[in-house]
Symmetry: C2
Subunit: 763 residues, 2 copies
């Protein structure tokens, strides 16, 4: 389709305020008489709090109250930012208390101090005396599942879930194969490291309801979980999300909000603020699941895949959070990528005593793609086929039903992504250059990987988007969505959508500063790369409705039939000639102030979206391995995406570069580590946790292969998460090309690589 505003790199509506430092984030919002809450964290990794002595803490000047588990409702609640489900069997696991006596990880939340200032609160924390009973702790799923292991959650056997996805007949598929390739792959725990740490404050509103202002991706879900955490009707809570400094899935979990509300409840509704430190955010909010894979791939001589057997074991840490849905997701994703008529995908998600794993950009796909794209490379080598060719041979094409999710997927330009990518990356030339640099201190290699990624969570979960539009008196439009701007630019794109569909100029559309469960139409929030797709469909429908109502008003006030009128660039025009009849502003004035027929024109849509589309793409990487240091330098890296019609190329490139940056760090550097002796996190700070600075990142290239997806509201598909899915695998494959050794564990950090190089006799 051809669009006017969609596809333009219009300026973000919040750009000026952000550049000037005038966009109010939660910490910036004006407050008065606010109290501060701080959390006392366990110093054992597993066990029981036998005694909490808070008497000395209460003596600290400025301390108002100390909360212990006994002060709070004895109610377990889930924390995952999933839509509520009417089917109790599908509900998220409720395994969390606001504060706990049962310690499940080092740093678990066992008490909290409310004080007039942060310093007093921190001093008080030091004065609380705790006596523990310690249990053995488990940092890996293997330990946690071992015979006789203490149950981290009673009755769980430390297994959150175990599922098997079957396609065709694995046994038959393996029999048909000429080669069976086997491999084992491991990924590590990493953390989101969004710029703004978790922060929330709560108070009692003038209507005696509880208001929680929070840096959350999921205001409407957060409201529900507050209801669950306190066993109170959900309507008794109101959640407000101001500007937010990134989330990447970590703020798709409810972490500090119930505590903030509990604190305010403890002080008669006065406002209490909880702001985590970076150390707390890294180690004690959510992390990416470390997943290990055992893979068996059956392939014919000609490269045709006949079978895949994959066993995934996922470390979920101390609490269920998003739980098994992340490891479980792999099956459907792989079937969206490669034609594999016979498959068994087994996955287990396991409680351990590490940080709770939850949603993180990519939601399990970077892990499974690392495993899949590694075994593909191994198969190509064994078959003597070019690995790119092997991939192209087996790719799922367009208009295909996914045999796991049973969703029909239409557009699919992955083949073109690979072909365009190779061209753009000068793949053959780089390969030749790399082949000529396989000795010496700096060895070069190229590698690539492909991925697929669904948009939103249909048909597994609810997909509702909401939008309300109001025509202002001057012909401008107020746009309200419940979808959540978390820095990714969704509100900018929604403005484009309204402008595109109504014909009212982009800068005449005004968005909200906040998402507010009291005002913003219901929408489940920012996750699953769903917003421009699911919420976008609600926006489009509301915009269509608004435009219709405006043209109905032209009929009413000026008696020109709707068949003859259109809106172009903020004017009502004759469709046949383009002649301007009047501005939308002039019409709006009539629609408000006509004594006989005036009425404010609004449109509100709540849209249940029964659709999903696959986004896909590829990464091409060119690396140089310093075999004296084990350091991998990325010479060049390119992501190519089929995300359907690109709504705003500048924002889209920003998304892709951000995702690639995260992925580079995932491939080469980041890992949250634990002390084997105490179970304490070792590097939960930005000095020791090796997050790249902008100086550490390579130059990154972005390419889009555009085709309108027939289901997307403007031909668009997922783009927020896809960029992180394939780079780690592509880099790993480039390293393989450079040194000829398969590195099957992430991250490929210098220490590890040096060990491998030594073990293989290269140095």
């Amino acid at each position: 389709m051809s669009y006017k505003i969609i596809g333009q790199s219009v300026e973000r509506w919040d750009a000026i305020a952000k550049v000037q430092g005038k966009a109010d984030y939660t910490a910036d919002l004006p407050k008065k008489n606010v109290l501060y809450g701080k959390i006392l964290r366990a110093t054992i990794a597993h066990g029981l709090v036998k005694k909490l002595d808070v008497s000395e803490a209460l003596k600290v000047e400025g301390v108002i109250k100390v909360l212990t588990p006994d002060d709070l409702p004895d109610l377990k609640f889930p924390t995952a930012g999933h839509p509520y489900t009417l089917d109790p069997k599908l509900a998220d696991i409720a395994d969390r208390n606001i504060l706990t006596k049962r310690v499940r990880l080092y740093g678990d939340e066992i008490a909290a101090v409310i004080a007039e200032n942060e310093l007093a609160a921190e001093k008080a924390l030091e004065k609380i005396k705790v006596e523990y009973e310690e249990f053995p702790f488990y940092l890996s799923p293997e330990e946690a599942l071992a015979e006789g292991a203490v149950e981290i959650h009673d009755g769980s056997k430390n297994l959150i879930a175990s599922t098997k996805a079957v396609v065709g007949d694995l046994k038959k598929g393996l029999e048909e194969a000429d080669h069976i390739i086997e491999g084992e792959y491991k990924t590590q725990i990493v953390q989101h490291c969004h710029m703004e740490n978790q922060i929330a404050y709560a108070y009692k509103g003038s209507d005696q309801r509880w208001v929680c202002v929070s840096s959350t991706q999921i205001p409407h879900i957060c409201r529900r979980i507050l209801g669950e955490a306190f066993g109170m009707p959900w309507g008794k809570f109101r959640v407000v999300k101001p500007f937010i400094g990134g989330g990447f899935g970590n703020k798709q979990d409810v972490t500090i909000e119930p505590l903030a509300v509990a604190m305010s409840m403890a002080v008669g509704g006065e406002p209490v603020m909880v702001e985590l430190q970076r150390e707390e955010s890294i180690a004690w909010t959510r992390v990416r699941h470390a997943i290990s894979y055992k893979v068996k791939l059956g392939v014919k001589k000609d490269g045709t895949i006949t079978a895949l057997e994959m066993d995934a074991v996922s470390n979920n840490g101390a609490y269920a959070s998003h739980g098994h849905s992340i490891a479980g997701k792999g099956a459907g994703i792989l079937q969206s990528l490669y034609k594999m008529p016979n498959m068994e995908y087994n996955s287990k998600t396991v409680y351990t005593n590490t940080a709770s794993a939850g949603a993180m950009r990519g939601y399990g796909v970077p892990q499974v793609i690392f495993a899949m794209e590694s075994i593909i490379e191994k198969a190509a080598k064994e078959l003597g086929i070019d690995p790119v060719e092997l991939r192209l041979k087996n790719l799922v094409g367009p208009n295909t039903e996914n045999p796991v999710s049973h969703v029909m997927f239409f557009s699919n330009k992955l083949k073109e992504c690979v072909e365009e990518g190779m061209k753009n990356f000068s793949w053959d030339e780089r390969k030749k250059q790399a082949d000529s640099q396989k000795t010496g201190d700096f060895r070069r290699g190229v590698g690539m990987a492909v991925f697929a990624y669904a948009t939103g969570v249909y048909p597994k979960s609810l997909e509702i988007g909401g939008c309300r539009l109001t025509l202002n008196q001057d012909g401008t439009v107020k746009l309200m969505v419940g979808a959540t701007e978390i820095g990714q630019g969704s509100d900018t794109v929604f403005k484009q959508m309204v402008a595109e569909t109504t014909g009212i100029p982009y800068d005449h559309i005004y968005t909200d500063m906040n998402t507010d469960t009291d005002y913003s139409p219901f929408d489940t929030g920012a996750y699953a790369s769903r917003q421009s797709y699911v919420s976008g469909m609600a926006v489009r429908k509301a915009a269509i409705e608004l435009k219709e109502k405006i043209l109905d008003a032209v009929k009413k006030f000026d008696d020109i039939d709707q068949l003859h009128t259109d809106i172009v660039n903020g004017n009502i025009v004759y469709k046949h000639s383009g002649e301007v009849i009047q501005s939308v502003g002039d019409l709006a004035l009539k629609s408000y102030y006509d004594l006989a027929n005036g009425e404010c024109i609004t449109a509100e849509v709540s849209n249940n979206f029964h659709s999903n589309s696959n986004a896909m793409g590829a990464t091409f990487a060119d690396v140089e391995v310093d075999i004296k240091t084990g350091k991998v330098k990325i010479l060049n890296i390119l992501n190519v995406h089929d995300s359907g019609h690109i709504l705003n190329p500048l924002l889209a490139s920003g998304q892709v570069e951000g995702g690639m940056g995260m992925a580079v760090a995932y491939a080469l550097a980041e890992e949250l580590r634990y002390d084997e002796k105490t179970g304490a996190p070792l590097n939960n700070n930005l000095l020791d946790y090796k997050m790249p600075t902008s100086m550490d990142l390579p130059d990154m290239e972005t390419l889009f292969v555009e085709e309108d997806d027939p289901m997307g509201p403007y031909g668009n598909k997922a783009l927020g998460e896809p960029p992180i899915c394939s780079p780690a695998a592509a880099i790993r494959n480039a390293v393989l090309d450079a040194i000829g050794i398969e590195v099957d564990e992430l991250p490929i950090k210098p220490q590890k690589l040096m060990e491998i190089l030594k073990n293989n006799g290269i140095v």
Copy 2:
């Protein structure tokens, strides 16, 4: 009609917060880095600012900027809180600049200081040097209209407007009369004295639009006037109204908001707060029009009124504000009260150099009722007919078209109000007692008066109400209106309406803390006693729609036809048996989370209301005049109202008592006075301006004669303003009864009464 929640004295939803001091008014809202604005006011009553030297002011520590008229757009705007009109001929007069060099009253706004704190701003005001050219000034319409008077507004001839309303044939009517009674009546300038002075602050929002938080009765109109004051599209402004401490019409004018915005504009969008002092609010915001009447009443021997000629001259002060609509309103009101087949009502509204008169509770009706109910009393005396009988003989009945407004009015229980009032007041007994106390130091008298009052402004102006309802997941309802809670309890009554119509309990309805032009449905605001009627109709329609959608959802999810279902007390029930099918909460949960058909249920209505109804009533007063001091003591006073169905008796009684209190002060004490030599206000403070304390007020009685009005959304009609309409006239008539002398000028203060008593030889 019989209602369940309507008619109950339910507790105000904001009662707890207000009692605890936790309801945030504009001054209470948390702010950061706010600057303060103070206004330099002219010290002449009429003239020109020749020179403004701000150099010393700028040197005061903490002063950021001084604004003069030259710094602001040279644009005139209107300030009246009337709905915008598409007909330029009907538009309010745009005669106001944000700051002015042309001084039109003592205290006119000629410069403004922005400083870091109020003290610095005040110090700086003192350092601004002003040179004036002085013109003669006029404190009365007579002076302003005199030959050769300087025009206060160029080209105006100091006459804002002059109109004549004609019914029948005055000449013929006077000819038919057996008696022609003449009189002259004068009312004074009084001020609203709402608890919370004018306060507003403004800042640039993150979307580069201008936000003005203000204690206003008319957020949506204020937004429009900001647009007009700056010559900018209205959508560029957002107005937010927090809790507000009374308005009584004074905050139905835009006073400080444009200056607050101009100040923020002058400092790059930083927040700037303007809060008036009581001295400023009394003298330099708005006041009630002092109106003088010349009256000629033609009456037959039997008491039948044949003709009325009335000439009203209204002192509008320095700026037009609501202008002529107040004096002009009398014609229609009188025709709603008495059958007067022949009438000429002439009115003039005149610029003078006193405070600008604008809207004030009663909007001109206390004045015209004072004149009318005085002449009626005079006529009764002349005819020798009991004045109550004379009134009853001439009252307009139900189901009558008003010959001035051409509106058909249906319900009318004024006759019953008089009859019930007499009974309740023990009128005959009191009269007998008063008759026996006509000598001595304390002379007693009884008096009464009647009034009529329209509801809202149809058909003269636009009447749109708006309401949006959202069904929460727990079956509670979020209620949003653009109508404005200003302390009168409108949101409480709207909650009752939603509960009544939906069947969802009152305490399951949640209202807004703020009215916000960005979110709240369009509604013109709090004035003309319109909200429970005009906005109430929108609320009722939205509630009907919401209920229908809920029952549609029951059909969708549970396949029970809408014909068989109802909502009672928060449950979906079978209509025939009352058996509970499920709670609204359970249904709401399905409606949100059903995978296939879930959708958020909302209802939004923008309702153009083509209707008006007359409220009416009577006051009965029993007074004792101390002829040694001239002090009038009210022994008892009763207001009887036909306001249709009473929505909340407790709130209604509060309204009536509040209005009666204001009226008692209007009758006996309050008057804003001016220095004849300088034109400066003499008593613009609460020490010298004689507003009664609760100790000064008599015991007041309230009675309602209820009949459902067929047009009101719940049978209700105006109640906010009616209570102030007739007490002053009733008290005046009681004084007449006590001392036998007609006092034809308000207020009946001791000094004046002593003079009259002396002049009449009584003392």
